[in-house]
């Protein structure tokens, strides 16, 4: 019953989803900045890529010679790098956790795709960045599983906790919780815990808003509504009869601009980089606008947006959360908003 799904609870859930997404983007950027900063001033060989395309070796015990896309690949220098998976949230259902362990096992390999001449690197580690609230439980689960199968995870794999921490300013705090990091400098710092000021991350990567995972749908809609559509509405004449600004939107050019402004093209990128935000995320968002009667589907690449400036006192994100809630089937209400689940990423 929809009544059972109190809107307040629904709003809170969705707000948390959005916040987790932003927090994960910041954790990715902060961890990359931490590793790269450790190599300063010789930062020429330092690189990082979000969702970077890497190739497993023929010896990989999970998926030999296959393409993988870790959340974050950081090359500290030509000799050392870390492959990282970041989980801002983790299902309470432990049966889903095995897939994360499998993923780590797959990444603990002589991967190809580094920023070196032969695309290989001498030493590398794998780190799972887990939110502080989940890390102990996960470690306990992992240790139990390792007793039965010691080869469940590679020897260069570690688990690092992270949390957004507020003191006199906001920090992202990292500390190694399990396993080992082979770079002595990084290990020393991560053993005691390291705090990266969020202020520095925003200044350095001020426009990066996405990573290689689809954002929550209401958040993506509010981003489009308050920025690219808002700006576009200034260029067209208001339709007095229908009470909207008609905006013709091409999925390809909209995606391209978001990638340049807030996505993978706003960071260092090459042939191994992976695109984000992806065209299908944008199309999905536009399809939702059609459902909300705020757009019309013209063809696979073209939509007509009926842009309305919502009232000043309305929070645009709350507005989209409410609108989606309003049209959702009671049982689908949660999944409708969580693109992560929808795309099964």
């Amino acid at each position: 019953m929809k009544q059972a799904l109190e809107f307040k609870e629904y709003l809170k859930f969705n707000r948390n989803e959005c916040d987790n997404y932003i927090a994960t983007v910041h954790a990715i950027l902060a961890f990359a900045a931490f590793v790269i900063k450790d190599n300063l001033p010789d930062s020429e060989d330092s690189h990082f890529g979000i969702g970077r395309k890497m190739l497993t070796s023929p010896k990989n015990i999970k998926n030999p010679e296959s393409e993988i896309h870790p959340d974050l690949v950081i090359q500290k220098n030509n000799q050392y790098g870390i492959v990282t998976e970041v989980k801002g949230t983790l299902s309470n259902n432990e049966t889903y956790w095995q897939q994360h362990i499998d993923q780590l096992r797959k990444y603990d390999d002589e991967l190809k795709g580094w920023w070196t001449n032969n695309k290989k690197i001498k030493n590398s580690d794998v780190a799972l960045l887990l939110h502080l609230t989940k890390v102990r439980k996960f470690v306990k689960y992992l240790e139990n599983r390792l007793q039965k199968n010691p080869d469940l995870i590679g020897s260069n794999t570690s688990i690092v906790e992270f949390v957004r921490n507020l003191q006199s300013e906001v920090f992202i705090y990292f500390r190694i919780e399990w396993g080992n990091i082979n770079d002595p400098n990084l290990k020393e710092k991560l053993d005691t815990g390291v705090s990266i000021p969020l202020y520095d991350i925003i200044k350095k990567f001020s426009s990066v808003k996405y990573y290689d995972t689809p954002p929550p749908l209401p958040w993506l809609l509010s981003e489009l509504w308050n920025d690219v559509f808002f700006t576009a509405s200034m260029e067209v004449e208001y339709d007095e009869i229908n009470k909207y600004f008609p905006l013709e939107v091409k999925v390809s050019s909209l995606t391209e601009e978001l990638q340049l402004a807030y996505g993978y093209k706003s960071l260092e990128n090459d042939e191994n980089s992976v695109e984000f935000p992806k065209k299908k995320w944008i199309r999905h968002a536009l399809d939702m606008l059609v459902k909300l009667k705020l757009a019309k589907f013209e063809n696979q690449n073209k939509y007509l947006i009926f842009y309305r400036k919502f009232r000043q006192d309305i929070d645009i994100l709350d507005k989209f959360i409410y609108m989606i809630y309003d049209i959702s089937e009671p049982t689908n209400a949660y999944t409708e908003v969580t693109q992560t689940e929808m795309f099964n990423v």
């Binding site: 969020l198 925003i202 001020s206 700006t231 601009e257 402004a261 929070d315």
Partner: protein, 375 residues
Amino acid sequence: MIGQTNSSTQYSEYIDFISELYSLADNELILNQIKLISVPKPFQIRLKIFYSKLPLSKIKESLTRNKDLDYYGKNGASLHIKTKIGRVNIRTIDTYFSIFNTKKQNIFILISITTSDEWKVISRFIKKKYPIIVPIYLSQTELIDGIKNLQKTQLEYKLRVREIASKERITKKSQKYRKSVHEWTDEPVEEVLSKIAERNQIIINLTLGFHNIINDRINVSPTAFCKITKNSEVFVTGNFNIIWETIIPYIGNVGFKKLNLFSKRGLRDRGYNPGPLNITFKSKVLDKTEEVQRFTDILVHYPNSRHTIQHGNPYTNITIADIFDGSSFDVWAVTSDNVLIVPRLKATEAAIERLVHYIFDEFHEGIISEASSRI
């Protein structure tokens, strides 16, 4: 020095004189005359310094799209407003003004010889032209620094503060509100400025008297009075030249520097290379959660905008979209003494100026600068 129109005949004659002055063939001739003439009460030389990306001809063209406003004079050097005001007591306002280029690119000066009512009408027309015409907001620091500097450089004059309008922050328990203060003084600038700082007052406008000094003797009768507002309006009574040579270039320069800092900040204008700005506060004004909440509330109530609160407490991340021109920003308060303004796809200098000074006025004043990376 300061006369008064004593009858309606004199008043009408003076208006005719002004209309003749503004009918002169070019701005230079008009300005030369303004520098020479005596202006009787209730008229004053009233100026507004502003910023525009458009050239002067386009600014005038844009203004004259209004049916009540037209070119005036032999070469259309000036502008003429004829409009009606008032709902019950309907009156006709018939007035003139000129807009001048300055040595600083994109900085313009509007000069009129008007009564208070006439000036209000001109101001209304100008305000409607935002964001084509962007007011230069003077921060408290800019205003005070300018006056201090003026006193230091103008050795032949003693500056005295004659009138001051300000807002005073008052905290009672958890409530905060502001008291409007209007004071008439005759005190040296230094004393007034130190009182303002002590009482945490925010200046709205301030009237200075320029008193001649000869061998340490001060003339009790000022050569000129000059009222300066936060919106870069300057009202002059008496010797116009002193003001024209001192205060006007200072405001122009402040506006030029500031608006240049704010220009080309939008991602589209910078090849998608971000250009964040940083407001640094003198003290840790965001160290308490209630102050962070207050800051968030202030941004939510930013006039003529749309918003999304990405995060409200214990730190602020809010997206603000400016309804005037489609600019949008992410505003971050993640430290106790800084606010980051991160422009999004479009961010005009007009919109940044409006947002920054809203934060200065409603929350706390700080120093705005380029946000340089520490990583």
